[in-house]
Point group: C2
Chain length 198, copies 2
Amino acid sequence: MSPYPAQVTQERIVETAWRMIEEDGSMENLPVSRLAKELGVKAPSLYRYFASKAELLQAVNTYTLSLLFEEMNIVLEGHRQQAPLEQLIAVAKGFRQFGHQHPVVYTLAFTTIEPDANNGGQDSAEKNQQFADLLRLQALVSEISGGTHSLTALRGLLAIMHGFVMLEINQQLRRGGDLDEAYEKSVEAYLRGWQNST
Amino acid sequence: MSPYPAQVTQERIVETAWRMIEEDGSMENLPVSRLAKELGVKAPSLYRYFASKAELLQAVNTYTLSLLFEEMNIVLEGHRQQAPLEQLIAVAKGFRQFGHQHPVVYTLAFTTIEPDANNGGQDSAEKNQQFADLLRLQALVSEISGGTHSLTALRGLLAIMHGFVMLEINQQLRRGGDLDEAYEKSVEAYLRGWQNST
DNA sequence: CCACAAAAGCTAATACCATTAGTTTTGAAA
DNA sequence: TTTCAAAACTAATGGTATTAGCTTTTGTGG
């Protein structure tokens, strides 16, 4: 069909970059040249697929978030029959586990400031799906906090999950003790706190 | 005493870098050459004071954390007479305010992985002071959670504060609503959750 | 007042990286 | 077999951190 069939695809570039960033353990230590070599291609060729390295990293972040949300959905599916509190705790555990499994790309995804009006109307179905996932989570939270504060309560839950994982990844919680337990107990305390607040 | 008195000091380099990083709004867009020019000096001269740019950024982070802890202490001083819950809420507000006022250096300080055994025994009094500050905070938390879980409860508090601020800075909480209120309500819920857990 | 030594700064060079311009290769279709 | 457009390549540009080696500065001791 096409003269000179492509040797790489956007998807393969993104997934390879994603893997290499995580393996290298550093966010910025992936020269385009090294990525290109891994793909069996020279560096300038990649600029046919991405306008800049920043745009590539943006795609990596989108990929990371899609994996994270997918993981959360799987967890929810596995706990369908349980009470909202148990479901939320399960989600929280899955969230943290994801952060531990992919600390570098996780951090990258949550610390890159995406230039707002940059991508005109790229709602991208990705974002729509993630929005729906969050609504689903909010519905669960709502059953604990009551509907009036469900968005507020969801935000706090996201904050405590993300904050804990980030502090752990950056080794800012090292004073001994069981961090697994600290995480679960904290999430439980947070949700319990919303229960008693008509 | 010394022939040829220095035109810059470590302290001035760090504080200038700190200010420029925040003003530029980007963590890595501060070439050593630009920092040097601002200091009225050429780039290589700075290597007399720091072994590498990474080491300089490390010093910037230490400076950021010292300001943050100082701020928290000021808040505590101003709320001496109040109940533990009010003191902790005040601290939480101050923490978030600091993050908003210095988002770039804040993020940098909390996302730079410091190579553990790098600096041999640099306990540096800075760290000791911050450790003492955290103990003071833990004592307050203890009066709500009970002593048994005070470290766990403190960790959760740090997580919710840091997580919320980080999500805000990276614009990952944008769905309208009052974020000021969401933050305060979430922190309150969290602490309330620890109260009922003998 | 003068010379000197060492601290501090400077110039020049190296190696690396992102990105661009222009050229070459490839394979399907005519 | 010739053509052509996509895709990849080579070569160059401009910017960066960092190093090596030289020059300047100035307090101090003669």
